[in-house]
């Protein structure tokens, strides 16, 4: 245990992995909370899948594997996917959930086509794009972590500054519009921040499972508190805890991809929160029900 702590502080790889996955957990938790409260949890899933063709295209166009370049590509196709979803839902008879499924799977298909195209075109530099499928935290280097920190820090700063605006936007958008908030612009901004959260997580958690890093911490945090500010804090904490522990397991036990490990840690937190959180825990529901049944059986209120 102490050894691991020592390594995290002094070992270059482990330090980067720990910092990177903590970052992604914090940013994903905070922005995921807004996504979940606005019932857009699955938009995160679609966004993550639509990032794949963006990563491939960015690589094909520039020949670079710099995280910033790939992230930019991912963000652009993520946004295009979101716009298509909005357009399809607004202007055709297709329901939101089909629109999500269509965009998610078709963009992922495009991504697979591009990925195989890059692989067969024998580019010496190509290796490693497929790590974006399941995530490979061990490949994080310092420059990646710095990029993630800058992007994530900017996103968190936005949330800190516009906390009350985002809160009202999520709770009662109509009232927000009536008192003059530019609801359309705030929506675009919040969605862009969610895109950033997704993009930050891609290298560590991967395209396929990134959605859970938005939804999981938020759902767990909601169990423990009735205040939005506390919920954001807890979600950040849970996200970071799952991110770091998952990444550590993956890096120290070789051959385990990072994404699934992070999600399994996250799921453990979610299950504990759903069952045992004071007030909202499901176990207490069951206990209350049983004791009230017993009271009735024993005749009369206790």
């Amino acid at each position: 245990m102490l050894d691991l702590l020592h390594d995290v502080i002094f070992d270059y790889t482990l330090r980067n992995v720990a910092l990177g996955s903590a970052l992604l957990g914090i940013v994903g938790g905070v922005l995921g909370s807004f996504a979940v409260l606005r019932r857009q949890g699955l938009l995160g899933d679609a966004l993550a899948h639509t990032a794949l063709p963006g990563i491939c295209l960015a690589f094909m166009l520039t020949g670079l594997r710099t995280p910033l370049v790939l992230m930019a590509g991912a963000a652009i196709t993520g946004w295009i996917g979101t716009l298509i979803i909005i357009k399809v839902v607004q202007d055709t008879r297709i329901s939101e959930d089909s629109a999500l499924g269509i965009v998610l799977s078709v963009f992922f298909g495009i991504g697979i086509v591009l990925l195989t195209y890059i692989q067969q075109s024998n580019n010496a530099n190509q290796a490693g794009l497929d790590r974006y499928l399941f995530g490979q935290a061990a490949t994080l280097v310092q420059s990646h972590v710095i990029t993630m920190a800058v992007l994530g820090g900017a996103a968190l700063l936005c949330v800190a500054l516009l906390f009350k605006e985002f809160k009202l936007l999520s709770f009662d958008p109509e009232f927000a519009a009536s008192i003059g908030f530019p609801v359309g612009k705030l929506n675009v901004l919040l969605t862009s921040l969610i895109v950033i959260a997704v993009v930050i997580g891609l290298q560590t958690v991967g395209v396929v499972l990134m959605a859970a890093m938005l939804v999981g911490p938020a759902a767990a945090a909601r169990q423990w508190t009735n205040r939005l500010s506390v919920m954001l804090g807890l979600a950040a904490l849970f996200g970071a805890a799952a991110g770091v522990s998952g990444a550590m397991i993956s890096v120290t036990a070789s051959r385990l991809p990072t994404g699934p490990m992070v999600i399994l840690c996250m799921t453990a937190i979610v299950i504990v929160s759903l069952l045992f959180a004071p007030e909202r825990g499901l176990v207490w529901d069951a206990v209350r029900q049983r004791s009230s049944r017993r009271r009735i059986l024993q005749g009369g209120p206790g």
Binding site: E174, A177, S178, L228
Partner: protein, 266 residues
């Protein structure tokens, strides 16, 4: 038509307003003026466009034609004079926030960007909660409130807006008699201090008791004016069409048993 000066003193003037959602017109060439210091009911069957009228006054839906002025200027310029109580069902009451916090949202508009509510806002919010009899619920999570309590919280939020004109969409929906009384009392107090209240109302029975002025709406304005003048049997029948079999027997007459017109409406 009103002179420019008269328009300035009119809390709300709606001119030639037409609104369509997608392909279907919902409000057609609506012209109404709402006088100052009155309690004004908007009455009409489901789907008549009552909520839409309020939303178009508040600039929440695009207008196909016409315009709306608040004391002679656009809504945008006069926003701070307006308070709004949306339909209660329009929000998710499981949102992680407290009663006090929701009331403070009424002051977000005046706070401006970035600034957070502080001690002063807290005090005002508590005062507003006090007025609606909800002070002891200040720190409750909003999902633990009953329907009537939620409605009072929304009212308190509007009070916190400290407006000249209040728009309320069905404030009595799902509310018991006591709460209804309490809400009416607060409305009357507001009226006494010179505010204008525009209320979407469903219970025809209580219109003459609560309101000074009524707008009967069904896609077009059927009638609009002082209750004793325009709230007649004929006008109600016209607004509700064949869908109303029971008519409040003696609407427009001084006394007599009244029935809920909406009971057979849907």
């Amino acid at each position: 038509m009103d002179s420019e000066e008269a328009l300035d003193r009119l809390p709300v003037a709606v001119r030639d307003l037409t609104v369509a959602y997608r392909d279907t017109p919902v409000l057609w060439d609506v012209d109404v003026s709402m006088p100052e210091g009155k309690m004004i009911a908007i009455v009409g069957p489901n789907g008549a466009g009552k909520s839409t009228l309020i939303k178009s006054i508040l600039n929440l839906v695009p207008l196909t034609s016409g315009n709306v002025t608040i004391y002679g200027k656009t809504y945008k310029a006069q926003r701070s004079m307006v308070g709004y109580v949306p339909q209660r069902g329009s929000v998710d009451w499981d949102f992680p926030t407290t009663t006090l916090d929701v009331v403070q949202m009424g002051m977000y508009g005046k706070l401006g960007w970035i600034r957070r509510p502080g001690k002063r806002e807290r005090d005002v919010a508590l005062e507003c909660l006090e007025k609606v009899g909800m002070a002891s619920y200040a720190n409750r999570q909003i999902s633990q409130l009953s329907g009537g309590q939620q409605q009072r919280v929304f009212l308190a939020r509007a009070l916190a807006q400290d407006a000249q004109i209040y728009f309320m969409d069905e404030p009595f929906a799902g509310v018991d008699a006591t709460t209804e009384r309490a809400i009416v009392d607060i409305m009357r107090e507001l009226r006494e201090s010179g505010k204008t209240l525009v209320v979407v109302h469903h219970n025809l029975e209580t219109v003459p008791e609560y309101f000074d002025w009524v707008i009967l709406l069904n896609v077009r304005v059927i009638a609009s004016g002082p209750v004793e003048e325009v709230f007649t049997r004929e006008a109600i029948q016209k607004a509700y069409g064949g869908r109303m079999t029971f008519l409040p027997d003696s609407v427009g007459e001084p006394s007599g048993p009244l029935r809920r017109a909406e009971s057979l409406g849907d």
